[in-house]
């Protein structure tokens, strides 16, 4: 478990992301940020507010509402010496940029026999329960994770977000970085000193012995809350956060499964053909002879996200539903 030594410095996830960008913009003149309303407005979520003041409108660039275009521009700029950070306001708009990301960015290094490369970061958002309805609430990281040539980061804490975003910017490949909209205000310790976190290393957020809960992004917080409740009834849950869906730290997941013999995978993407399917089948294969029960999956309900709060809240895993699932799984012993 990577313990941030923040010496008590606590900041929000939004601040951590802005710090990572500011540090990399300062360090490397080829880094730039482009997106809709990223400059003066500092994004629709105000996460980048102030960045343009330090780096100017040539490096923090407001764009037209042209997601495919700014992504394509990023790919070309990345191929020719820049390190673009492209901002796609809502992860739902990923639908518009798949060609540039998947047929272009992801494949150019390979198709050119290794001669060209595309060191770009695509920052976007995920997560529901913001009353934003079906076109502004999806978590589409499964799609990018499916595509060879792309790396995918889904951080769950301010500390991880900062260290992973810095790695993503320095990476030589296209990296998609998913920020959960509901977590921008989440606070956590982040050290003053510079650090980076390598891509592809899982983090055990809480150690335990009875059941492994593999959780991503905001589902880590949900699962930690569930673990507290489980502890009250004597069940010790281990929370493992892969932090990246690719590269995927299979060993850490499988080893935890071998240790506890019971696994739940929790992710906020649609359950069907989603991230939980891959993680569950990797574990079910790798820890087959150690498992006492089937690996259970909890994703978003397979429905377009409804607007009505009473319905929307039913669609994502909560501390209660994770608790119930874990209890049942352990009771089934």
């Amino acid at each position: 478990m990577s313990t941030p030594n923040g010496n008590g410095r606590v900041i929000t996830m939004g601040q951590a992301i802005k710090e990572a960008l500011a540090e990399e913009l300062r360090r490397d003149p080829t880094v730039y940020v482009m997106g809709e309303d990223v400059a003066e407005a500092g994004t629709a979520f105000k996460v980048l507010k102030g960045l343009v003041d330090e780096f100017g409108p040539e490096r923090v660039i407001d764009s037209p509402i042209s997601e495919p275009g700014i992504t394509g521009l990023g790919v070309g700029a990345a191929m020719t010496g820049m390190r673009p950070v492209v901002d796609i306001m809502f992860g739902d708009f990923s639908t518009l940029i798949m060609d540039q990301m998947v047929n272009q960015a992801a494949k150019i290094h390979y198709m050119s026999g290794g001669k060209l490369k595309v060191p770009m970061v695509l920052r976007t958002t995920m997560g529901a329960t913001r009353r934003s309805a079906a076109q502004h609430s999806q978590s589409l990281h499964a799609w990018f994770s499916h595509v060879p040539g792309i790396k995918v980061v889904i951080p769950s804490t301010p500390y991880d977000a900062k260290g992973l975003l810095k790695s993503a910017i320095r990476d030589e490949n296209p990296v998609v970085f998913f920020e959960d909209k509901m977590m921008y205000q989440l606070k956590g310790e982040v050290p003053e000193e510079e650090y980076i976190i390598p891509l592809g290393v899982a983090d055990v957020k809480r150690e335990g012995t009875d059941v492994t809960i593999v959780a991503t992004s905001s589902m880590v917080q949900v699962s930690l809350a569930a673990a507290d409740k489980l502890a009250e009834i004597g069940i010790s849950a281990e929370i493992v956060d892969p932090r990246c869906t690719f590269p995927l730290d299979k060993d850490t997941l499988i080893n935890s499964a071998k240790k506890t013999s019971r696994v739940i995978v929790v992710d906020e993407g649609y359950e069907r053909y989603g991230v939980t399917a891959e993680l569950a089948s990797v574990i079910a294969d790798g820890a087959f002879y150690y498992l006492d029960a089937p690996v259970k999956r909890m994703g978003a309900m397979d429905v377009p996200i409804p607007f009505s709060p009473v319905l929307e809240d039913l669609t994502v895993p909560t501390p209660d539903t994770v608790f119930e699932m874990a209890k049942a799984l352990c009771g089934a012993n």
């Binding site: 809709e36 309303d37 037209p64 934003s132 409804p306 607007f307 039913l314």
Partner: protein, 342 residues
């Protein structure tokens, strides 16, 4: 609550006569348009109030200041003509004939809403009045509108489709793909660009090169650019373009210059960093409701008391509508996974 707007004749190409000589406008029509603009204004004010008092989930994008466009265009349509709408869609929805109580219910996520609470502000649709839905993907409905026009043409119904969008949508490639096909196949679709000068918090000068009109003219599409604050101008233009479309002369592009008085959404309060207060005040001098009221009074087509009466009626209708929605029940939890498949 009674349906807010008297329904108009539907059916094969049953358009109202367009292009009447100036000065001979039908008073009833003008009063109807006045009422609809006021209805939108009152509705949106109430939405803002609901948001501010934390009674509305999520956000909303107010149409205040732009009322002449939705109403001026929709008054030129039949009730079975189609429209597609945007994130800033309450105005279009009302103008096309929706009832405010059912709308409020939708905005509050209640079962009685137009979409059973599943759509909300950004996805409100009203199939019975030809509103194919608001769309939270900027530019995302261009293809849908053209597709509806395609249906109308293939099925020979004489319907037309109007695609409303903000000038920000001109950044989306889909719009150009659609315009090209609409012109190739002479589809009865009217692209209405509500140019309120801002894409969220960025002036359109920073996001749109060249001319807006040129974007459609490139495809050979008939294009007009008009004052979007004067509903008589909007309505006359719309009638012309609807007539063209019904006659099989194909698509058109109507640029309406306008302004949103409020923020990009209800939460956008501090706007000084992206647009000057003076600009806001200046535009409020050209208020669409006032302009029409002044014309009606000035031409002695009616008098202030009639207008006041309309306003008072609408205001109480809106208040009752909001009250209805506030008291209405939420959908049953079992609704969460119905309507995923037809």
């Amino acid at each position: 609550m009674a349906k807010a707007k008297s329904s108009k004749p539907a059916g094969k190409g049953a358009g109202k006569p367009a292009g009447k000589p100036a000065g001979k406008e039908d008073v009833e029509d003008l009063l109807q348009m006045y009422e609809q603009m006021v209805r939108i204004r009152e509705f949106e004010d109430k939405v803002n109030e609901l948001y501010t008092s934390a009674k509305m989930p999520g956000l909303a994008h107010l149409y205040i200041g732009e009322e002449a466009i939705a109403v001026g265009v929709c008054e030129a349509l039949n009730s079975d003509d189609y429209i597609t709408s945007t994130h800033r869609g309450h105005g279009h929805c009302i103008a096309k004939g929706a009832a405010v109580d059912i709308m409020f219910a939708e905005l509050l996520g209640k079962a009685a809403g137009y979409c059973g609470g599943k759509g909300g502000s950004m996805h409100i649709a009203d199939q019975a009045n030809g509103n194919l839905g608001a769309n939270a993907i900027v530019g995302g409905s261009a293809g849908i509108a053209a597709g509806a026009a395609f249906s109308a043409k293939r099925l020979g119904t004489g319907q037309v489709a109007v695609c409303f969008f903000g000038e920000g949508a001109l950044g989306q490639g889909l719009l150009y793909e659609t315009m090209n096909m609409a012109q190739l196949w002479k589809l009865p679709v009217i692209f209405v660009c509500e140019n309120n000068m801002y894409n969220e918090y960025t002036h359109y000068n920073e996001t749109a090169a060249g001319t807006l009109a040129g974007r459609a003219e490139a495809f050979g599409i008939h294009t007009e650019e008009i004052d979007g604050q004067d509903i008589r101008v909007v309505n006359e233009a719309a009638k012309r373009l609807v007539e063209r479309a019904r006659k099989g002369e194909g698509p058109s592009f109507l640029i309406c210059n306008t302004y949103r008085y409020h923020g990009h959404h209800v939460g956008d309060i501090d706007r000084a960093y992206y647009r000057p207060k003076e600009e806001e005040l200046e535009w409020q001098q050209r208020d669409p409701i006032t302009i029409l009221a002044d014309w009606i009074i000035g031409q002695k087509l009616s008098d202030q008391s009639v207008l006041d009466h309309i306003q008072a009626d609408v205001r109480s209708e809106v208040a009752r509508g909001a009250e209805f929605a506030l008291n209405a029940p939420y959908p049953d939890p079992s609704e969460v996974d119905t309507n995923v498949y037809a």
